[in-house]
């Protein structure tokens, strides 16, 4: 990242605005024309957008259906479970950030941004309960942060384990364990929806496609010919077809593949489809990392007497994965955006919910508002993910040596 530092430290003179404009915007005839055209374009677009957002758009449809957008039809009495898993995540994040925060200031800034975002969310039209939960989230981030300051090396391992076991805990809490009268009544997957389902699909996609992708990447580089061929065939087949065909296959053909009498849930089917799809792309990215590891590393491991498994697990794979972290984050963002496709196979994720909201008689014809809001949600989360990953990477030196 040295070139970025260079760019920033390059002579950045403070010029008076007019001088700066003359030097950069109106220095030649051609440039002046270009400036005027671009300025006019920005003005037209900006004015149209502002006029629409503040005077014409009817945003009531969002406020009235906010819960539907975020949680789908998840029963209101059970929403505390979602908050509980978020509290755990907040604690883990605060802790992890303060551990990383020792190396650079980006983590600290990120923690502050997170807290500010949560506090700002309290201004949104949500119930008093939700505000309380948001406050609790802020509190737990802070708690995690301060506990992380005095944490030992052992704590770091606990945090890593915490992040790994968080997704299963999250899913378990959401799904429930006991019959209707128990502490954690089962909530059928048909009630999962909205942003919650979108996140769920993303998390499951990431968690399960990761090991599969790593295995496929190893398989593609294997010396065993048949293993290699099967891996190549799988990766190229999946990468050659659109995600939507895989999702349809998962919905329609997966039940056929299983013995009669066994049925799997539609959401699980979508998860299988997304995982199978994502794994092929992940395999290619991991393979890129593996190829970048110099041969000397293998030879050195061999000279030390490590077995093939140890060489891979202890020497090569950690370096390879470290190299491709930025690419993997990019892929996970793409996966998050791609989960919208499950709406086409009839699941009620964010896009599916948007369709049902637009079918409400009092909100007919508000497609612009609803889809603009949904786009905004996708945009904000994707942008935040990429921004945070870029910042953390550059400050921690992840992805470079």
């Amino acid at each position: 990242m040295s070139h970025i530092a260079e760019v920033q430290s390059a002579t950045f003179e403070r010029l008076p605005l007019l001088t700066w404009m003359r030097k950069n915007l109106f220095n030649t005839w051609g440039n002046s024309v270009l400036t005027l055209i671009t300025g006019w374009l920005i003005f037209i677009i900006g004015r149209g957008l502002l006029v629409w957002v503040f005077t014409q758009a009817e945003w009531e449809v969002i406020g009235a259906n906010l819960r539907l957008f975020l949680l789908g039809q998840y029963p209101i009495t059970q929403v505390w479970r979602i908050w509980l898993s978020l509290l755990l995540l907040a604690f883990l994040s605060g802790n992890a950030l303060s551990l990383w925060g020792r190396k650079g200031r980006a983590a600290g800034r990120f923690a502050v941004a997170l807290v500010v975002t949560l506090l700002l969310l309290m201004l949104a039209p949500v119930g008093i309960e939700a505000r309380g939960w948001l406050l609790a989230l802020v509190f737990l981030i802070g708690l995690g942060w301060f506990m992380g300051r005095s944490a030992t090396r052992r704590m770091r391992q606990v945090i890593t384990v915490g992040f790994i076991i968080w997704p299963p805990i999250f899913i378990l809490l959401l799904r429930g364990l006991t019959p209707a009268d128990g502490l954690l009544p089962l909530v059928g997957t048909n009630l999962w929806g909205g942003l919650l389902l979108t996140f769920m699909l993303t998390v499951v996609g990431i968690v399960f496609s990761f090991p599969l992708g790593v295995l496929l990447a190893l398989g593609r580089r294997s010396q065993l010919r048949i293993v290699r061929w099967v891996s190549i065939g799988y990766i190229e087949l999946i990468r050659g077809v659109p995600l939507i065909t895989i999702l349809f296959m998962a919905q329609l053909m997966l039940p056929l593949f299983l013995p009669t009498g066994i049925t799997i849930d539609r959401i699980i089917r979508a998860m299988v489809g997304i995982t199978l799809f994502s794994a092929a792309y992940l395999a290619e990215n991991v393979r890129g990392g593996l190829q970048a590891i110099p041969k000397g590393q293998f030879e050195a491991a061999y000279a030390l007497g490590l077995s093939g498994l140890h060489t891979m697990g202890l020497i090569v794979m950690p370096q390879a994965l470290r190299l491709v972290i930025p690419i993997l984050v990019g892929q996970f963002i793409a996966l998050f955006k791609d989960t919208a496709l499950v709406a086409i196979v009839g699941l009620l994720d964010l896009v599916g919910i948007a369709k049902t909201v637009l079918a409400q008689p009092e909100f007919l014809g508000l497609q612009r508002e609803v889809y603009a809001f949904v786009s905004l949600l996708y945009w904000v989360f994707s942008y935040a993910m990429s921004y945070v990953s870029i910042r953390l990477e550059s400050s921690l030196g992840i992805g470079q040596r």
């Binding site: 950069n24 915007l25 440039n31 270009l34 400036t35 671009t38 300025g39 374009l41 920005i42 010396q223 065993l224 010919r225 048949i226 293993v227 099967v230 087949l237 990468r239 050659g240 077809v241 659109p242 995600l243 939507i244 065909t245 349809f248 296959m249 329609l252 053909m253 039940p255 056929l256 593949f257 299983l258 013995p259 009669t260 963002i333 955006k337 791609d338 919208a340 496709l341 709406a343 086409i344 964010l350 896009v351 948007a354 497609q367 612009r368 889809y371 603009a372 949904v374 786009s375 996708y378 945009w379 994707s382 942008y383 990429s386």
Partner: protein, 393 residues
């Protein structure tokens, strides 16, 4: 230590690496085959219980559904395979048009991103950042429902300069209508094309001989255009007459009307893919080191020559592999046509699937078709890439 331990004695078969590898492969292959067979067997049993068997003969059955727009003759009484073909052509059309326009817009964006003008640079950067973080499906739906279907009714259609007519029925463009001298004109165009090819080939050969690369593409286009204009003027009447679209009664008469579905899909794909192509182009141009530009300047090349002879050949090498994958992405993403109701390959196949209940066959067919696109495009681009590769010492 006795001497015999150091000598390569015969390794027992269960520790011989070659045998172990072979064994592992056989075990793996057996595992894959077993699972494949198991799934297949389950599927056949399940289908038999539903009273069907696998087979593609149903493609000869009558389709019985209409398609809004097709490039080939298609009606309700056509066969399934004809419907599939119509969808295939529509996908190819969308992909070809999309690839062309997204390349143009992408190159503009990539160059604008590197512009010296801060305003242009900022606008391009903002656009890229906006598009790259949107979900394509949501964007397409928004674009279709929120923009193209919200255009005014036909009665209140908007007229744009140049005879373009915008309404929620689509975009009507002025179009040429062939007259009776059109066949002759077509022959002239063909002759012009051949002449242009011949000239380009000759120039290319001379360039190879003399070591001075000529402006082959420019001469090619100039020759073709000259013949086209000359032919137009030489013929007794104009081969095409301009037909302006206009509103008559309840419909649009004249011109060529592009449906809102087609327009939304193509323009949405173009706007989205162009952002990614813009990044690819920017990276490609930036990959040419500054020393190359300085060297070109020192040799006395002017700006255009520097671009044509130094920057492009090198940037193209970096650009082409990721550009290929963007083209493939666009083709695959065109399957989202189902969200806007455009009758592409996937949409038509889904309709066939729903009508005939042949899920396995249709999904296999669709996947194989897309796979063929991907493989053909990769092959072509690999060939092209090996052609543009700068030969290093």
């Amino acid at each position: 230590m006795s001497k015999s331990n150091l000598l390569p004695t015969k390794i027992p078969i269960w520790r011989d690496e070659r045998y172990l590898k072979l064994l592992a492969q056989i075990a793996f292959a057996l595992g894959v085959l077993f699972f494949g067979y198991y799934f297949y067997q389950n599927m056949v049993t399940g289908l038999r219980q539903q009273g069907t068997t696998l087979g593609f003969s149903f493609l000869n059955n009558t389709a019985g559904f209409d398609l809004a727009e097709t490039l080939i003759d298609y009606s309700r009484s056509s066969k399934y395979w004809q419907a599939f073909l119509a969808g295939l052509y529509n996908t190819l059309l969308v992909s070809a048009v999309g690839i062309f326009f997204s390349t143009v817009l992408g190159v503009i964006l990539g160059v604008a991103r590197l512009s010296a003008n801060p305003l242009v640079k900022w606008l391009a950067a903002a656009y890229l950042e906006l598009m790259r973080n949107l979900s394509l499906l949501v964007f397409l739906i928004f674009w279709y429902l929120g923009v193209f279907l919200k255009l005014p009714l036909l009665r209140e259609a908007i007229f744009w300069p140049g005879g373009i007519l915008l309404s929620n029925r689509g975009i009507a463009l002025p179009w040429g209508v062939p007259t009776d001298v059109y066949p002759a004109y077509r022959l002239i165009l063909l002759a012009g094309l051949l002449l242009a090819f011949g000239l380009a080939f000759f120039l290319h050969q001379r360039g190879l001989r003399t070591g001075r690369p000529p402006l082959t593409i420019m001469w090619f286009l100039a020759t073709f255009l000259a013949v086209a204009v000359f032919g137009w003027l030489a013929l007794p009447g104009a081969p095409l007459t301009l037909d302006l679209p206009r509103v008559e009664g309840l419909g649009i008469v004249g011109g060529n009307t592009l449906s809102p579905e087609f327009m939304a899909l193509v323009s949405g794909l173009v706007l989205y893919t162009a952002a990614f192509i813009g990044e690819v182009v920017r990276a490609g141009i930036q990959s040419v080191s500054k020393g190359q530009l300085e060297a070109a300047g020192a040799l006395g090349l002017n700006g255009f020559q520097t671009l044509r002879l130094v920057v492009f050949p090198q940037a193209l090498q970096v650009i082409i592999p990721p550009l290929t994958s963007q083209y493939l992405n666009l083709t695959k993403n065109s399957s989202l046509a189902i969200a806007v109701g455009y009758a592409d390959l996937f949409y038509v196949s889904n309709t066939i699937l729903n009508q005939s209940g042949r899920a396995v066959e249709m999904i296999t067919l669709v996947m194989l078709t897309y796979l063929t696109f991907s493989l053909l495009t990769s092959l072509f681009m690999n060939w092209y890439n090996s052609r543009v590769r700068v030969v290093e010492r």
